[in-house]
Amino acid sequence: MKARLIAVAVAVLVFVPAAFAAGTTKHAVKKANAGTTIVIYASGDVNVQNLWQNNIIPHFEKENKGIYVKFVFSPHGADDGTTLARIGAAVKGRHWPGIDLVDAGLVTTLALDGLDQPVSKATAPNIKKVNPALLAPVKGAAIPYRGSSVVLAYNTDHVKSPPKTLADLLAWIKANPGKFTYNSPNTGGSGYSFAETVVDSYISAADLKQMDDGYVPNLESDWNQGLQALHDLTKYVYQGVYPNGNAATLQLLAQGQIWIAPVWSDQSLSALASGQLGPNIKLAQISNPSFTGGAAYLGVPKTARHKKVLYKFVNYILSPEAQQMIVNVMSGFPAIDIKYMGSAIQQKFEDVSANTLRPTFSTKMGNDFKAQWQQTVP
């Protein structure tokens, strides 16, 4: 049955892009008479949907009469695989994929496989405000537009002073068996960040830089020591289990079953604001090394249309005004340097003390890392 499912999925991957491209072209031509319509595809949780649909897009359309933004949303990235195949096929066949701007995890794959249009200062001036370190892993072919960092969440009822460094944290985990866990790296970025941070602490800075910027499978033996350390940690982890998904760790934390866990800064700040996490949960960052952060990237497929209008939109997203919305609406990190933002923002991020995001492995290295973790740690 699974075989057949995959087979059907493959069929859809092959046939739908062509059919869809034909269908949407007609539709867009009709609208072009009234103004210019650009199509954006985004995937993620409801906070991402809210950011685009109720904040960035209405403000942009209000300021730019005659430009319409059509928003396509895929909850939890359910359509990411199809969209990736669709854009891949369209760019290879040199026709419009039906999407002009993508906000999803697949953007980094698009960028590295040469399916994305590089964006420069000439096309979108605000790109110069972005931390250049975030552009290297995507070869400048994707635009970081918001960030979030992984931080340590701890239960103040049981943990009076949280660990300050990675070594302290590892010592704490061993001293308090069963009170720590992280989600399996292949199901969410917060657990992934913890696993990578432990492994990173055994790797030389030069090798790490290569892993962040490109795909160097021959350096993967550097991981062995760190993976062994993670494997040794399994007996101190809550039930020896790595739950699936970022939300699962937050739930264990909220129930008081675990006392410390790595969590996403934006997700936990939202959870604290909505009361899903109680007031006894506090956040802190560790050092030596710190947890990695991640940027969310926008991508422009090479065969996107209305590029001039599109870059206007991209430039708007990187403006301090739109970046402020990211901070307000989803507790995200601004992608542009904090010095371009108000002093209120600088204070807001003081308690997680990470105004630069420590880069993470490039996508392909990350995929291999997840595979090796799955084989060696649990």
């Binding site: 049955m1 699974k2 075989a3 057949r4 499912l5 995959i6 087979a7 059907v8 999925a9 493959v10 069929a11 991957l13 092959v14 695989g81 990736l84 195949a85 891949g88 096929a89 290879k92 794959t109 496989d113 399996s184 292949n186 199901t187 039930q239 020896g240 289990v241 790595y242 739950p243 699936n244 129930q255 079953q257 996508t363 392909k364 995929n367 291999d368 997840k370 595979a371 799955q374 084989q375 740690v377 649990p378």
Partner: protein, 287 residues
């Protein structure tokens, strides 16, 4: 008349299956070129075919662990589902009380509850702070095991999901046995167990085989229950397949695993076909 359905099957099932088989054998051209553009760690055949992907997947001891876990969870689930649905079916067939009717109605309820919701409920019910463990603690059993995030939770979940179908099949199969046959057996002095063994069981073989094979095929390809309630590793093939496909960006390896599951499921399918053919042969002999 027959052509349109045949064409649909050929285009939407035949062609992709063919393409997928070619991809697992290292053919990355044609319909596989898009997936091959993106995938990592592929085995590409320059001439002819290569079994590299199969060798890699079957040589991976963790995949073999997943495969073994899949096989024993499948067999155990089949056993429990067949036993449970036989028991409930028999009870409903032989006893016409309101309790029997209530039991049969209750046993079908899982059919109407989404598997995701059910999996989360099973996880919280059997978790370290779950209802069952709390109850056991209060009655003095302090070492009661935590079943959440273990293979036992997976088996419980799979049984929970599959029992309604089993009960429906068994009760309709048992209801098809004429009352006259049962009464004749009882009148000539057969005890209840003898009646079941000599009359009800032989007349209900096909529904039993259907329940066993369909349950087996469902468990082999299941994802939601093991993903949410199972341990980190080893887990069922469905979970590990999707990890290879999505998280590790190794679609070729994932498709090889799909082929392995397909072969297992085809094996179960063969039993089903064989049982049907045997029944058809017997029917033609007796008439």
């Amino acid at each position: 008349m027959v052509l349109p359905p045949v064409a649909v099957v050929a285009v939407f099932i035949g062609f992709p299956v063919g393409a997928a088989i070619a991809y697992t054998l290292g053919k990355t051209g044609g319909p596989n070129s898009t997936v091959a553009l993106i995938a990592q760690r592929q085995h590409v055949a320059k001439h002819g075919v290569t079994l590299g992907a199969y060798r890699e997947v079957l040589g991976n001891s963790h995949v073999r662990g997943d495969l073994w876990a899949t096989v024993w969870v499948t067999l155990l689930t089949i056993g429990v589902v067949v036993a449970l649905s036989w028991a409930i079916g028999l009870y409903v067939r032989l006893s016409d009380t309101w309790i029997a009717r209530a039991v049969s109605a209750l046993s079908v309820i899982p059919l109407f509850i989404p598997v995701v919701i059910a999996s989360y409920s099973i996880l919280t019910f059997y978790a370290a702070q779950g209802f069952l463990k709390t109850l056991a603690y209060h009655t003095g059993w302090h070492s009661f095991p935590t079943l959440g995030y273990t293979m036992w939770a997976v088996v419980i979940g799979e049984v929970w999901v599959n029992v309604p179908f089993g009960v429906l099949m068994m009760s309709s199969g048992l209801n098809a046995v004429p009352n006259a046959l049962i009464e004749a057996a009882r009148d000539s002095g057969a005890s209840l167990p003898q009646t079941i063994r000599a009359v009800l069981f032989p007349m209900n073989v096909i529904p039993t085989v259907i329940v066993a094979t369909f349950t087996g095929i469902y468990v082999l390809g299941s994802f939601t229950v093991p993903y949410l309630t199972g341990p980190s590793a080893p887990n069922l093939m469905g979970v590990s397949m999707s990890q290879f496909f999505q998280s590790f960006n190794q679609p070729q390896q994932a498709e090889v695993m799909a082929m392995i599951v397909f072969v297992l499921a085809a094996g179960l399918g063969t039993i089903y076909v064989w049982a049907n053919m045997r029944a058809a042969k017997r029917a033609s002999q007796t008439t």
